[in-house]
Point group: C2
C-alpha cells in the first residue's frame, strides 16, 4: 500500500540508530518518508529546545529513496526544523518517532526525547506516534515487531487517532511469535529510584554521574507496564494538557490570598 502520504520520521538515539532505520523502512511502505534526526544521541533530552545557539542542519544520503537530514539540535528541534524549514508549507500526514532503543513506558514519556519529538508534532496537530522497544542494545531486534508497527501506522493513517493525536507505543523484548497482541491502556504510575555515582577526575575534582532503576508503583491491569510485562504491545493515547482538573476546585482557597 504505497500512497502519497508525507511521513516525518525522527528519534532521539540519533541519525545512525538502527531503530530509526527500521522505522523509516516500515514507514516507506505508506508514502514519502523524510527523516530529520539528531546527529548525536539525545536520550533523556525531554522537551528541550535550542534557543541560545544556532542549529546546524545537513542533508545526508545514506538512506536509499528517502530524504534525510541530520541536525545538531534536540529531537524537538528536529520536528520544528522539519515543519518550518525543510517541509515548509507541505502538510505532514503523520510523524513517527523512534524506534527508541529502550522503554518509554510510564513516566519515561516525560524524560524521553523520542516521545517529546512526537509530542511536538502533535502540538502542531500532526498525528504522531512514538515507538520504543524494551531493549537498550544497539543490536536490538526491531524485526520481531515490524508487522505490528506497520499495522499501527496503517491504522493511524487510515482511521486516525481518536480524541487525541499522540500515541505512546512500547514493544516488549520478545520473539515475534511471543508477542500476544496490543493493549490500549494508561500510563502507569512509577518513579526512578536513583543514585549518583560519585568519583574523582584526574585533577582530583569530584563529579557525579546519574544512575538508577525504574520502579513501577502501579498494581492495576490497565497500565502500559502491566501490558508489557504480560507480553503485549502497549499503546497509550497521550496529550499535552498537564492540568489536574479535579484539583482546580479543591485548590480554590489559593484565590482567597
Amino acid at each position: 500500500m504505497k500512497t502519497n502520504k508525507l511521513i516525518l520520521v525522527t528519534n532521539d538515539d540519533g541519525i545512525f540508530a538502527p531503530g530509526l532505520a527500521s522505522l523509516a523502512r516500515t514507514a516507506s511502505q505508506f508514502g514519502d518518508v523524510v527523516i530529520v534526526a539528531p546527529n548525536s544521541p539525545q536520550s533523556g533530552m525531554g522537551h528541550a529546545i535550542t534557543i541560545n545557539q544556532p542549529i546546524r542542519l545537513n542533508r545526508i544520503h545514506t538512506f536509499p529513496n528517502m530524504d534525510a537530514y541530520e541536525c545538531s539540535g534536540t529531537p524537538v528541534d528536529c520536528v520544528k526544523l522539519a515543519k518550518n524549514v525543510i517541509l515548509k508549507n507541505r502538510p505532514i500526514d503523520i510523524c513517527l518517532s523512534g524506534i527508541n532503543h529502550g522503554s518509554n513506558a510510564s513516566i519515561n514519556i516525560i524524560y524521553s526525547g523520542t516521545m517529546s519529538a512526537a509530542m511536538e508534532a502533535s502540538l502542531e496537530n500532526i498525528p504522531s506516534i512514538g515507538f520504543s522497544l524494551l531493549d537498550y542494545s544497539f543490536e536490538a531486534d526491531f524485526e520481531a515487531s515490524t508487522e505490528f508497527v506497520s499495522a499501527i501506522i496503517e491504522k493511524a493513517l487510515s482511521i486516525g487517532i481518536n480524541n487525541c493525536n499522540l500515541l505512546n507505543v512500547n514493544i516488549p523484548k520478545l520473539k515475534k511469535n511471543e508477542i500476544k497482541g496490543i493493549k490500549v491502556c494508561k500510563q502507569a504510575e512509577g518513579r526512578w529510584d536513583e543514585e549518583f555515582m560519585e568519583a574523582k577526575d584526574p585533577r582530583n575534582e569530584p563529579y557525579y554521574w546519574l544512575t538508577g532503576k525504574f520502579v513501577s508503583s502501579d498494581s492495576g491491569t490497565d497500565s502500559d507496564i502491566w501490558a508489557l510485562e504480560n507480553g503485549f504491545i502497549s499503546v497509550v493515547p497521550s496529550g499535552h494538557d498537564l492540568t489536574v482538573y479535579k484539583a482546580i476546585q479543591t485548590n480554590k482557597y489559593f484565590e482567597t490570598l
Copy 2:
C-alpha cells in the same frame, strides 16, 4: 513565621538570576533554604536529564544564611542532585522553582526547565511550585508580587496542595496595586508560531536560529492565559499523567491488529 521547614529552591535561568534570589529571600521566611541551580542559563531545557556525561556540583557562598550549590547540569538534574546527594535522607517540605524570567503559562510548561524542575520534585512526592513572571528582562520587578508569592508558599506549606502536588504559578507584569488577585485555573490551549532565522557563518556555512511567538487558541475564561490577561496571578494545578483517558476506549480498534 520562621519554621523548621526544609525548602529546596531551584530555577532554569541559572544561579545568578535575580528571580532566584527573590524567591530564595521570600522562602527563607518559612524555614531553611537550600539552593541548587544550574551554573548557566537552561531555559527551554524541558525535562532534560544528563545521562551521557558527568555533572559538576560546587558549593557557593554568595547567598547569606543559605546553603547554595551551582551545578553543571539541567534544572531536573539539580533536583535529583539535591534529593540524592546534597540532602540525602532529609525530607524536603517543598520545592520552589523560579521565579522564572518569562511566562510559563499554557503549553510553555512543557518546554520550561523551571516547571520541569518543579515537576521532577513532584514525581518524588515533594509538593512543588513553579513561579514565573511575565517579564523576560534581567531587571524584571520581582518585588511587586512578593506578598502573593509569600502567601502562596505559606498556604502550600500549611494546608498543602489538594489532589496533586504541583502548581504552575504565573504572575502578570504589573505594579503591586494593579494585581487583582489569584485565579486557580486550567492550562490554556496554545501553540508557538515559529520561524527560523537562517544565516551564514563566517565560513559561509548555513545555520538556523529558532524564533517565534506564542499564540493562544483558548477563548475560555477559565484558563491561565485569560487570568493573566485580566490582571490575575494564575495557579494551575498540574500533574505528570499524560494519558488522555477518554481516548483509551475510542482507540480500542488498535487492539484488533
